[in-house]
């Protein structure tokens, strides 16, 4: 055994914690944590981005005709007028719920499925929260109201390869936000030593409650999904780490483990964690639960651990047992800027405008729309942005919730960011160096590629400096300098 062993099971009163950094932003989960998952009706159109995961873009499965004009439904003002490819009218393809619309050929990538019954219009540039615009397959709803039916199958007879093939076919990616294709992640080379699977249910971002509701409502599916992953990995130990502010989810999963009729020799237990941001980061949850630290620049499998999101585990169950592809997901719609908050089960590709309409509109004091959580999410200016596989929440925030937008001041060297950074970086010095145009010299202030943009440093900064963005710029400058040196 090359590693220190896991901590003792469910230590009484002593919750595991990660030792370095971390902050306690107001949770604001009370807005949605008690609301059961609600199914939203199918939208009139969905836009499925060809790239909503880590890896190569999905390949379109149809013969496309080049077109200059595009339907203005997804396009705003004069941006994104080019690059639209429409299907020939004669070729327009009828799809049903769950039907494959985009494939991936033996590459790191994910397949795409239509979430509605309808017609594929083609591929159009669509407003993207980060990229500005990005090609997406547009499917229009044709009003057919056929619901797909799924039957449970006995998954235990499948081999590892068959299980991975099913996960790949269902287009499952990490739903926590990174969007790494699940089949690639779970296909670990046999010579790598693994001993623990960690299911990440900490959901440390304020406001977000989608994982919480999934854990509370589908505990059996998650345990079953954990067993599927354990079988693929060929190991027996699984720890489900959940922040202690979700007692109902912890209880539900503990009951599901206790009442599991066939444990199949797997050792699954629930580990409550201290409530601290960013406990949901893979590095922090691994250190918290197993005391192991990932070396800089290496994968978590190098220390014998695979970390998977609980909601991804549930969709793996759906994919393997029900043959249900990933075409819908639970999204937390929260914030005081929308008439009604909800945990909505929406079709991937649904534009925000449909969700806003379904929930009764926004309020007068809406000040910011954020896709994702308040710490790491992206602010958007348009409601035509569609939901992607990695969208865990959409927040409609009021001025009261986000505070005034302020100009940032000079660094006063208070050192709060050093105490907040979970990776032991020096955001203050990186910021000062980047401002002085010396971003390339920032290696001395920490392995800046360790930064996963949790935003803890910027959260505590009294001068309101954009430290996350400074570090991002430093990363680029360091890379540039390295490349120059090599040439």
């Amino acid at each position: 055994m090359p590693f220190k062993d896991c901590k003792v099971k469910n230590k009484a009163n002593v919750l595991p914690d990660f030792p370095m950094g971390g902050i306690h932003p107001p949770e604001r989960k009370e807005l949605t944590e008690h609301l059961p998952i609600e199914v939203m009706p199918d939208p009139p159109k969905v836009a499925l981005f060809l790239k909503q995961h880590v890896g190569y873009p999905t390949e379109v499965m149809f013969n496309l005709l080049s077109e200059l004009h595009s339907p203005d439904y997804y396009l705003e003002d004069n941006i994104c007028k080019d690059g639209a490819c429409r299907l020939d009218h004669a070729e327009k393809k009828q799809v049903t719920i769950g039907e494959l619309v985009g494939s991936t050929e033996n590459k790191i990538g994910a397949t795409l499925h239509s979430g509605i019954n309808g017609v594929v219009d083609g591929v159009f540039d669509t407003i993207h929260p980060v990229l500005g615009k990005s090609p997406a397959i547009i499917v229009s709803n044709d009003g057919h109201n056929t619901k797909p039916s799924f039957s449970t199958k006995d998954w235990t007879k499948y081999s590892k390869e068959e299980l991975l093939a099913k996960i790949k076919a269902a287009g499952i990616v990490g739903l926590g936000g990174a969007g790494f294709p699940a089949d690639i992640k779970l296909n670990v080379k046999p010579d790598i030593f693994l001993d623990t699977l960690i299911l990440n249910g900490s959901e440390c971002e304020p406001y977000l409650t989608c994982d919480h509701r999934v854990m509370a409502e589908y505990p059996k599916e998650i345990i079953e999904g954990a067993k599927i992953i354990l079988k693929i990995l060929g190991i027996t130990r699984c720890v489900i780490g959940i922040e202690n502010n979700k007692p109902d989810a912890i209880k539900a999963l503990e009951n599901a483990v206790k009442n599991d009729p066939d444990k199949m020799g797997y050792d699954i237990f629930i580990q409550p964690l201290t409530v601290k941001y960013p406990h949901g980061s893979a590095d922090q949850i691994m250190q918290s639960i197993t005391d192991r630290v990932r070396p800089s620049g290496k994968r978590s499998s190098s220390i014998g651990i695979i970390v998977q999101n609980v909601y991804t585990t549930k969709t793996i169950y759906d994919a393997v047992v029900l043959d249900k592809p990933l075409y819908e997901r639970v999204v937390t719609i929260s914030g005081r800027g929308i008439a009604r908050q909800a945990n909505l089960l929406v079709k991937i590709g649904t534009p925000l405008s449909e969700i806003v309409e379904y929930l009764g509109g926004t309020t007068n004091d809406l000040a910011k729309i954020v896709i994702g959580g308040p710490m790491m999410g992206v602010a958007v200016s348009s409601l035509k942005v569609p939901i992607t596989k990695t969208t865990s929440g959409v927040l409609f925030l009021t001025r009261e919730e986000i505070g005034e937008d302020q100009k940032y001041g000079p660094c006063i060297r208070c050192g709060f960011c050093l105490d907040a950074c979970p990776m032991g970086l020096e955001p203050n010095n990186i910021g000062v160096f980047v401002e002085a145009g010396k971003g390339a010299e920032c290696e001395q202030f920490g392995f800046s590629k360790d930064c996963f943009q949790c935003g803890s440093c910027a959260y505590v900064c009294p001068a309101k400096r954009p430290l996350v963005q400074f570090i991002g710029l430093a990363q680029i400058k360091v890379e540039e300098a390295k490349r120059k040196e090599e040439n």
Binding site: S296, I412, A463
Partner: protein, 346 residues
């Protein structure tokens, strides 16, 4: 849920804020920290008005106003944004007044303010880039330029906290020597003789009824302010504790007739040790960021303070000790980096 009347249909969202992440920020701001420090310093000023007379208020006001004016004028001349609202110039003004004697002429803080704000801070690059503590640089200039006023302006404290004494006759300032001066030239027995008894001496030192600079005499009141800053999380214990412990330790070892016979309590309560430890050495800009660096920084201040007090020409050494440790801060920050996450990796 909001009432439906508040809901509006908005096809276009023109006034949305689209700033970058994080979208939540802690409520603490530079301004709030600075003004809290000013508030924590105020009790000392109030006490000094009773103990030394109203001229302490006048000197502090002159100091603050001249610091703020210097900052405004110099930033205007250099065409930089004016940042007086952040409160840092006010802190510098208050701290500079606190480390000059109560009996100096009222114009005295003005040259100090120009030194502190313009030379030490603004032309070094403004807030966040000064190497030396501005308030102490101001005092150092005054010590060098007006040594007579700065070493003779002591006022005998009046142990009467009732307002009535302001209306009585004969409250004129009486010149007196500071305890550290007495200690340096007449020894511990001379000091006890001056205060009457050992316990009266400690009582006077702790509550601020001994001669000294405007804001440094009352350990009690300064400790309350310092503890508020600690409780608020604006400073950590490392610098104050290491300054106080190392001052006490080195005084105990070297301060007496023989080794290990010095009086550590007297050393900590007298002079500007408490004020320096909690309010000057902890200045963010001129102190190290890393905990080990902070401990060494504080220990160095204590050691230099004792060295100057025992062997130097001045009876008091906190000011110069901090100024001597200030330029070491970049080096300390280089030597002691925070522990990186991956350093503990397998």
């Amino acid at each position: 849920m909001k009432s439906p009347t508040q809901i509006v249909e908005r096809p276009f969202y023109k006034n949305l804020s689209v700033s970058f992440s994080p979208h939540a920020r802690a409520s603490v701001s530079t301004e709030r920290i600075m003004w809290t420090v000013v508030a924590c310093l105020m009790p000392s000023l109030i006490l000094s008005m009773f103990v030394f007379g109203l001229q302490t208020l006048v000197i502090t006001a002159v100091s603050v106003i001249s610091c703020v004016l210097t900052e405004t004028i110099s930033q205007k001349l250099l065409k930089k944004p004016i940042t007086i609202h952040d409160g840092s110039a006010v802190i510098t003004g208050v701290l500079m007044a606190y480390v000059i004697p109560p009996g100096v002429p009222v114009w005295m803080p003005i040259p100090g303010a120009i030194m502190a704000i313009f030379i030490t801070k603004i032309i070094m690059g403004g807030m966040g880039f000064n190497v030396f503590n501005p308030a102490l640089m101001g005092r150092a200039l005054l010590m060098a330029s007006y040594p007579v006023a700065m070493t003779a302006g002591w006022v005998t404290p009046i142990k009467d906290l009732s307002l009535g004494r302001y209306f009585n006759a004969g409250v004129d300032a009486v010149s007196s020597a500071t305890p550290l001066y007495v200690l340096k030239h007449y020894g511990i027995n001379g000091l006890i003789e001056k205060f009457g008894s050992m316990s009266t001496m400690y009582f006077d030192f702790f509550f601020g009824f001994s001669p000294g600079c405007i804001g440094e005499t009352s350990a009690c009141v300064l400790l309350v302010g310092g503890l508020i800053l600690l409780y608020k999380g604006y400073i950590t214990w490392h610098i104050p504790v290491s300054v106080i412990v190392s001052t006490a330790l080195f005084t105990w070892i070297f301060g007496g007739e023989t080794w290990f016979s010095g009086n550590p309590i007297l050393a900590v309560l007298s002079g500007g040790v408490i004020l320096g430890a909690f309010f000057m050495a902890t200045d963010y800009v001129t102190s190290p960021n890393e905990r080990r660096g902070q401990l060494i920084f504080g220990a160095g201040i204590g050691a230099l303070t004792v060295l100057i007090r025992l062997k130097g020409g001045y009876p008091e050494g906190v000011c110069y000790a901090i100024l001597l440790m200030n330029p070491l801060v970049p080096a300390l920050d280089q030597w002691f980096r925070p522990k990186r996450f991956s350093e503990g990796a397998l």
